[in-house]
């Protein structure tokens, strides 16, 4: 299969690979996917409580090039966004940016799910109710 240049770039030079301290109150963690499905994505955000802004984002992904690229791109986009702005990220924006083919759309969906899960984790840790998220389309 031919990968787009952007997927190859993110795969070869992934941004923000790493781990944030998940025990910290300011850190939200989202872990989505399953090993037997061939993709597991872990996305973490660190939020500045006073400004509600995401100051850092890290990922680790087990998956194909498109899954790695989707999560790498997501961390780039998350940094500097407010939590509300981050919630608005739609998987189709990732599809467009990375020129993902139809068979790889699920990678972008996983990334969106991971963002939302990380935000909810942060909210719950800080005494806020978890947001009702529409069940993703698989």
């Amino acid at each position: 299969m031919a990968y787009s240049d952007k997927v190859i770039d993110h795969y070869s030079n992934p941004r923000n690979v790493g781990t944030l301290d998940k025990s910290k109150k300011t850190v939200g963690t989202g872990l989505v996917g399953a090993p037997e499905c061939g993709d597991v994505m872990r996305l973490q955000i660190e939020v500045d409580e006073t400004t509600n802004t995401i100051t850092d984002a890290k990922f680790k992904t087990f998956g194909c090039g498109s899954a790695i690229a989707s999560s790498s791109l997501a961390t780039e986009w998350l940094k500097g966004k407010t939590v509300d702005e981050a919630l608005a990220i739609d998987n189709m924006e990732i599809v467009e940016e990375l020129a993902l083919p139809p068979v790889k759309i699920h990678c972008s969906v996983l990334a969106e799910d991971a963002i939302k899960m990380a935000i909810n984790d942060y909210r719950v840790k800080n005494g806020l109710p978890a947001l009702e998220l529409e069940k993703s389309h698989h």
Partner: protein
């Protein structure tokens, strides 16, 4: 300078040996006759080329030249052997025994004869990919007409106990056929000593051209016959009609002659290179050899790397032409049924790489491959949440995955 990518997918096909091409050239140009034309020198010259190739091929597998039936390749030979025996011996029985790790050319042909009312037993294999001789013996019935079990496996290189299998088949009055596609030309295959009654094999896995193969059909003790699957001019003693692919056959013959002369030296060199590749890659934690290490073709290694994903791994080893344990069928990734039959989980089957070395593989290429794979696996693991969990001592089976 090393030319990239490096071809290490020689179980899929091998490059043509230049000496084979040289032998073929006249038959692609001046000697263009139809080997079945008996009335003029053009036909005679073509037939002479074919006869000589038949000699070269029969010397490699120790049979009579008349026992070689030319086909378009191993898939056709598997079809002709299995369907041909099933039809020819239908009065004697309708039961065929094979294994779950055969090539699709055998498995799908067996499925076909099941539709025609045949009974097929698919023997399981152990974690090394070997069948149990006791299970084979137990599966034999008075209706068993054919046992067809591959010589060496295309994915793992595992070699079955062919002589023992043949003895059991014969003890119960059945014929023994083997798919020798990966083995012939790589290890000594002697149809007489091994007790093989029918054998499918092909030129392009042993540095010959594509589009030409053979079915060995024993003529004595017992005399075996197969019903033709193609109607026409009655070529190949009536078992396979169709104008002979003369240049292909000549190339096949030359490839067999070279294999006979060079196989021992090639095997010795390649098994050393393969062992070195394997030893180095096994220094990576959580990497495993698939198939039998003891009973294996000399040029094959199949290794799984836990906690990296197969497609990502293939992308990471872009400088190598290798196969993975994922048969990528359009949208979905299907893990290899051969590796699954060995008891591998889906994730380990997905994250496997198959290395197939050839006569043309160099030390330098293997050194490069070792470093390239190590770097890719290490990099992907640093990116893998599963690897991190493993390192923290978390049992992945205890995690509730958000399945999607």
């Amino acid at each position: 300078m090393l030319k990239l990518p490096i071809y290490l997918d020689n179980n899929a096909t091998t490059p043509l040996d230049p000496r084979v091409l040289e032998a073929m050239m006249p038959y692609l140009t001046d000697v263009f006759g139809n080997a079945a034309s008996r009335n003029h020198p053009f036909g005679w010259a073509a037939e002479e080329g074919v006869d000589y190739a038949r000699e070269q091929i029969s010397q490699l597998i120790n049979c009579d030249p008349k026992e070689i039936i030319f086909t378009s390749g191993a898939t056709e030979s598997d079809n002709l052997g299995i369907k041909g025996v099933f039809e020819m011996y239908s009065q004697r029985g309708n039961h065929v025994i094979t294994t779950t790790t055969e090539h699709k050319a055998v498995l799908d042909t067996c499925k076909h004869i099941e539709k025609l009312g045949g009974k097929v037993t698919y023997l399981p294999v152990n974690e090394q990919g070997l069948i149990s001789l006791e299970e084979l013996e137990a599966a034999m019935t008075p209706q068993t007409i054919l046992v067809t079990i591959m010589y060496g496996n295309n994915e793992t290189g595992t070699i079955q106990p062919i002589r023992e299998i043949a003895a059991i088949a014969h003890k119960h009055g059945a014929l023994f056929m083997t798919d020798g596609t990966q083995a012939v030309g790589k290890i000594p295959v002697d149809v007489l000593a091994d007790g093989i009654d029918l054998m499918a094999f092909t030129a392009h896995k042993m540095y010959g051209p594509k589009g030409v193969g053979a079915l060995y059909v024993r003529r004595k003790n017992p005399r075996v016959k197969v019903t033709a699957q193609m109607d026409g001019g009655g070529h190949e003693r009536g078992m396979r009609s169709g104008t002979l692919n003369v240049p292909g056959i000549v190339g096949f013959g030359k490839a067999c002659e070279l294999a006979r002369l060079e196989m021992a030296a090639d095997a010795e060199r390649l098994s050393k290179l393969r062992d070195q590749l394997e030893k180095e890659l096994l220094t990576l934690e959580e990497s495993y050899v698939n198939g039998s290490v003891e009973h294996r073709l000399p040029h094959v290694a199949n290794i799984s790397f836990k906690y990296v994903e197969g497609e990502g791994l293939m992308m990471g080893v872009k400088d190598l032409a290798v196969s993975s344990g994922s048969a990528c069928t359009s949208a979905s990734l299907e893990p290899s049924y051969v590796l699954k039959a060995l008891g591998l989980s889906d994730d380990l089957a997905h994250s496997s790489l198959r290395f197939g070395l050839s006569r043309f593989t160099t030390d330098e290429q293997i050194d490069y491959a070792i470093n390239h794979v190590k770097e890719a696996v290490t990099k992907l693991r640093e990116m893998s949440p599963l690897w991190e969990m493993h390192k923290e001592g978390i049992d992945l089976n205890t995690i509730e995955w958000a399945e999607h």
